[in-house]
Amino acid sequence: MSDDLILGMAGSGGDGVVSAGESLLAAASSEGYHAMMTKSFGSQIRGGESSCRVRVSCRRILNPGGVLDVAVALNWEDFFRFGAELPLGSSTLVIHEEKAGPPPETPATRPLSRALIFSVPITEMAKKAAGTDKAKTSVVLGLVSGWLGIPKEALLRGLKKKFGGKGQGLFEANERALASGFEYAQTHPLAEPRVLSRPAAATGPKLLCDGNDMCAAGAIFSGVEFFGGYPITPSTEVMQILSRELLQHGGVVLQAEDEISGIGAALGASYAGRKSMTATSGPGMSLKTEILGLATIAELPLVILNVQRGGPSTGIPTKPEQADLFQAAFSAHGDVVRPVLAPTTVADTFSTTVEAFNLAERYQTPVIILSDQEIAQRKETVDLIDTSRFTLERRLVPTGAELDGYQRFRLTESGISPLSHPGMAGGNYLGAGIEHNEHGDPTASGAMHERMNEKRFKKLEPLKQRKDLFEVLGNGNAPYALVSWGSTAGVTREAFELARARGLDVKLFVPTLVYPVAEQVYQDFFASVRAGLVVELSYQGQLYRILRMFVDVPKGVIPFARSGANPFQPTEVLEKLTELTRAES
């Protein structure tokens, strides 16, 4: 028995590998398991290779996991295109299409055990049972059910949902294909059974969704009234969801002619007093940067989602990377600081989005949500959201008295000045990208520029004291540390637990606020630290480098960083940390 199962599957575009993964995910979820699915494609629109990883567990899942427990290859060429995303090990159960032949001898397949390799005539069985090779993945689901004990009924319910609308015949054909796979597994038992334990008592209803769903939901919950954007992988789903929802509630979604116009319209709507948002990925972010500067100096609230992908330029648009942190923090002309928040799970993308809207409104500033492809497009079981812990903020508007001789950019103690909008009598002012005095009139005075810069920086200072924007776990005096952010935090959290279980005195730091750097919070955290790792998916190790700019990072804390599309595994983080502690002691 095991209580955690990681299954990876790869095939050609038309094989339905991702769809089968979704069926498995839905079945596992309906049975009360925690489940998570990541999918990966070539960049082709149709065809090409596609793969998915499904992790099913009796425990809460922190990441998509490392070495596969079960690998399904419909053909090897496609399977190996996914390299490090589908790692094989000595206990990996391999199910491959008979026609594809045994796993070719490569460094990747070297650890495999012969006894765990099953050559199954999947296509033939599909043809025989369903009359079409399109039912291949239903055969695979049957095999998985038979060998791993995922209840057949739950999988059938999923198939019924999927094919029910397309005619009874289609459903029945797939039902027969699934049954034939199941039977095959029964008649070819594993030497050592691999049945997954049943989940513990029901943990309440769960959602199946991805980070982009959660971002859109968080925006709707926050009361977003306007969205302006332009399609770009992997953030487009947010615009699609809002296109469906916003008009129904009196809001507007504008699919603009380009990225610049998308953020321009969103900023215009914010100037007009509405809660406003745009979404994009790295290349779009570059185009939006000039208007980000305008939002900063005009002091207008705006939420910008950047779902990071592999870069630069087109890079690897369908895979995750965390290499837009420098861009989020520093891509600006002039002296600019703007909050950058990074969700670390599908679930916390909701709260991060609500936080982003609140910060934007409170501080009258653009706020960047820095998500990444893995979180944004990873589907998983998530608890229903308890909204009682949220309060929603709205920008400070001038009172009647303040409208008398209204000063839009009045220099206040907090740096925040009441903000009117067109339509509000008495609040008339000139919004501008040009430097201005308190009234809003253009100025080229160095003294005023200094004071306005001070205002725009000062208002964000309290953010750095917000302890709830940082997750700190472990013994406060621990000499060893793990620091991580974004989707990689999920891997690091598991490595942290493994290290603690191994008796290592380690602590964990995961910021939601990645910029501006909360110097004191880091300084306090690092006070006891002799050695540690900053784990992130970028070639340069961007968070590490930014921390070095602002914080006295202990010499023993080093980056553990590499390019996107090379996901970390909890065990490698653990090994790297262990190595570090050995060298250090």
């Binding site: 709707i220 116009s261 319209a265 900023l267 100037y271 007009a272 208007i291 229903l384």
Partner: protein
């Protein structure tokens, strides 16, 4: 046309001076933009909307300073992006009167890509381009409407490219209201701006606004006065789109003033369609909370 007409009931009629702010224009003495500003004050007072009900959006350039010289809500944004921002404003608050202004560089060079989309979207706003065929704020470089062969600091041997024809451009994309004006005819310009403001949909006025510092001799007010030809005097029918296109081809050669084209049956605007769809969806809509049903604990 009586520009001071139509006061709102129970209210002192607004005068042109009510739209004038205390800010002193940075323009060179004699700049055509002063005339545009005066004409705009007159047109706005004729319409009679309160300054706080007006959003005046511009880009960057000499002419883009204009919102600050009015008492309306203004937004002097970034180069070339006035139209996207203005569209967001109008969609967010359709009840506002939205006016957009900028120069020929702002509208037809750096921001040229947005014009076509603003036109096809047909959001109800008025776009005033102060066309002076030169970059004034950066001191005399070649602009997108500058005539071929023009000698400037960036084309010291004469430019090698054809100018953009703003009139043909907007007509070709289907703009519902297209006019051209010059400060050489102040009453005419004020009337044209007012008519553009009243047009329900995207309206465009190309204003030949002389640059006294870097402009050519034939582009100055004196030359305008001598060569301008009111379209009305030519017997042009403003409802005739093909005739308008034909006349627009003479941009750069002839100085026609007046309305080139006014759609006699203006189609519904995008903002009106959005509001209609919102109203329709509201009948069957899921309340905001229900949109989140799937996500939230009860």
């Amino acid at each position: 046309m009586d520009l001071e007409a139509k006061p709102a009931p129970n209210r002192t009629p607004l005068q042109p001076k009510d739209y004038k702010s205390d800010l002193k224009p940075i323009w060179c003495p004699g700049c055509g933009d002063f005339g545009v500003l005066q004409a705009l004050y007159r047109a706005l007072s004729a319409i009679g909307r309160e300054p706080h009900e007006i959003a005046f959006i511009s880009g960057i350039g000499c002419s883009s300073r204009i919102p600050g010289y009015t008492t309306a809500y203004g937004f002097n944004s970034v180069h070339g992006r006035a139209l996207p921002i203005a569209q967001g404003v109008k969609l967010a608050r359709p009840e506002l009167l939205v006016v957009v202004a900028g120069g020929d560089g702002d509208g037809f060079s750096i921001g040229g890509g947005h014009v076509a989309h603003a036109i096809r979207r047909n959001i109800d706003l008025t776009y005033l381009v102060m066309d002076n065929q030169v970059y004034g704020l950066t001191k005399g470089q070649l602009s997108p409407t500058a005539p071929k062969g023009l000698h400037t600091v960036t084309s010291p041997f004469g430019s090698l490219e054809e100018p953009i024809n703003p009139l043909l451009y907007v007509l070709a994309y289907g703009a519902g209201f297209v006019a051209q004006a010059t400060p050489a005819d102040m009453p005419g310009m004020a009337a044209l701006i007012e008519e553009a403001l009243r047009y329900p949909g995207f309206s465009f006025v190309n204003i030949q606004s002389p640059c006294v510092t870097f402009g050519e001799e034939e582009q100055q007010l004196r030359a305008h006065k001598a060569k301008m030809k009111p379209l009305a005097s030519l017997g042009h029918d403003a409802a005739n789109q093909l005739a308008a296109l034909d006349l627009a081809r003479a941009y750069g050669k002839e100085l026609y003033t007046g309305v080139f084209y006014r759609n006699p049956a203006p189609p519904p605007t995008y903002d009106a369609l959005v509001q209609a769809r919102q109203a329709e969806l509201i009948k069957t809509r899921r309340p905001r909370e229900r949109a989140l049903d799937a996500y939230l604990q009860k």
